[in-house]
């Protein structure tokens, strides 16, 4: 079993889990560590700082549901890649105050939320070797 791990961010208390992702636009690239937000049912939200670094312009607007009321947010077209998850997407990201990854990135994977060591880990199951599957010698 292998694990890919990312440290919690402690810029707020208690610290929160993050996942490092690489974003790119037509001519810019940025590595960011968005907050993992299980309340977000989308894939990616990018904050103002990431929008500025990527120099992306809106590709649309969309009505989203927030804790307080529905709100309209810009959409940005970005390339997202995460080597440990072996994913690369050209996707629409929601423009928000700060960057977030949502449940679409988490689904169908096994995660370990280690709040003691302040780490968020992806559990990667290796296929066992053929020898491992052989019955023990008598």
């Amino acid at each position: 079993m292998d694990v890919g791990k990312w440290n919690f961010n402690d810029d707020e208390q208690p610290p929160y889990p993050t996942v490092e992702v690489v974003l790119s636009s037509a001519d810019r690239k940025a590595t960011i560590s968005p907050k993992v937000d299980t309340g977000f049912n989308g894939l990616l939200a990018i904050g103002r700082e990431a929008v500025r670094r990527l120099r992306v312009t809106p590709a649309g607007t969309v009505l989203v549901k927030t804790a307080t009321a529905p709100s309209e947010a810009p959409l940005y077209l970005v390339n997202l890649s995460q080597p440990d998850l072996a994913v690369t997407y050209k996707t629409l990201a929601i423009g928000t105050e700060r960057s977030l990854v949502g449940r679409l990135l988490l689904e169908n994977r096994t995660w370990l939320l280690d709040c003691k060591k302040g780490r968020f880990c992806i559990i990667k199951h290796r296929v066992a070797n053929r020898e491992d599957l052989s019955p023990p010698a008598q």
Binding site: D37, G39, F40, N41, G42, L43, A45, P58, A59, G60, T61, V62, L63, V64, K65, T66, A67, P70, S71, E72, A73, P74, L75, L77, Y89, K90, T91, L92, I94, T96, E97, L100, G102, L104
Partner: protein, 142 residues
């Protein structure tokens, strides 16, 4: 300015119309119609065209305005999409627009984005938005 423009779009969509059509179909006074047309052309909302051999100009909604209105968002956007007739066909869905044309639509924002932006070269001319409240709305912290 946006209100009479939206009304013109509601009636004529992207088809050309004359000043007299505004008077006849929208009940505007002749002076008001002329004033609106000259202002709307100046603001880039309408495109004026002179037909060969005809003295009277025709006008049609500028397709570039669609992107601007969608990106501004708010009530104006919803009224505009309703005037385009999108509420009757795509209510609760996400649509991808290129000018006045709906190039694709889906209940799922990400599925739509994947289809529309994966292959098209004209992706910077396309704008994506919701029509009414999405049935599959995104929940997020803003």
């Amino acid at each position: 300015m946006i209100r009479p423009f939206v009304e013109a779009v509601r009636v004529f969509k992207s088809e050309p119309f004359r000043s007299a059509d505004l008077v006849e179909k929208l009940g505007y006074a002749t002076g008001y119609a002329r004033n609106f047309l000259s202002q709307a052309v100046r603001q880039g909302l309408l495109i004026a065209e002179s037909r060969k051999g005809k003295r009277e100009k025709t006008f049609k909604a500028n397709p570039n305005v669609v992107r601007e209105i969608v990106l501004r968002g708010g009530k104006e956007k919803e009224e505009f999409l309703e005037a385009l007739g999108l509420h009757s066909r795509y209510l609760g869905e996400y649509v991808a627009l290129r000018g006045f044309r709906v190039v694709d639509h889906d209940l799922d924002l990400y599925r739509l984005g994947e289809r529309v932006f994966s292959t098209r070269e004209e992706q910077y001319e396309i704008v994506v938005t919701n029509v009414g409240t999405p049935k599959k709305i995104i929940t997020v912290e803003i």
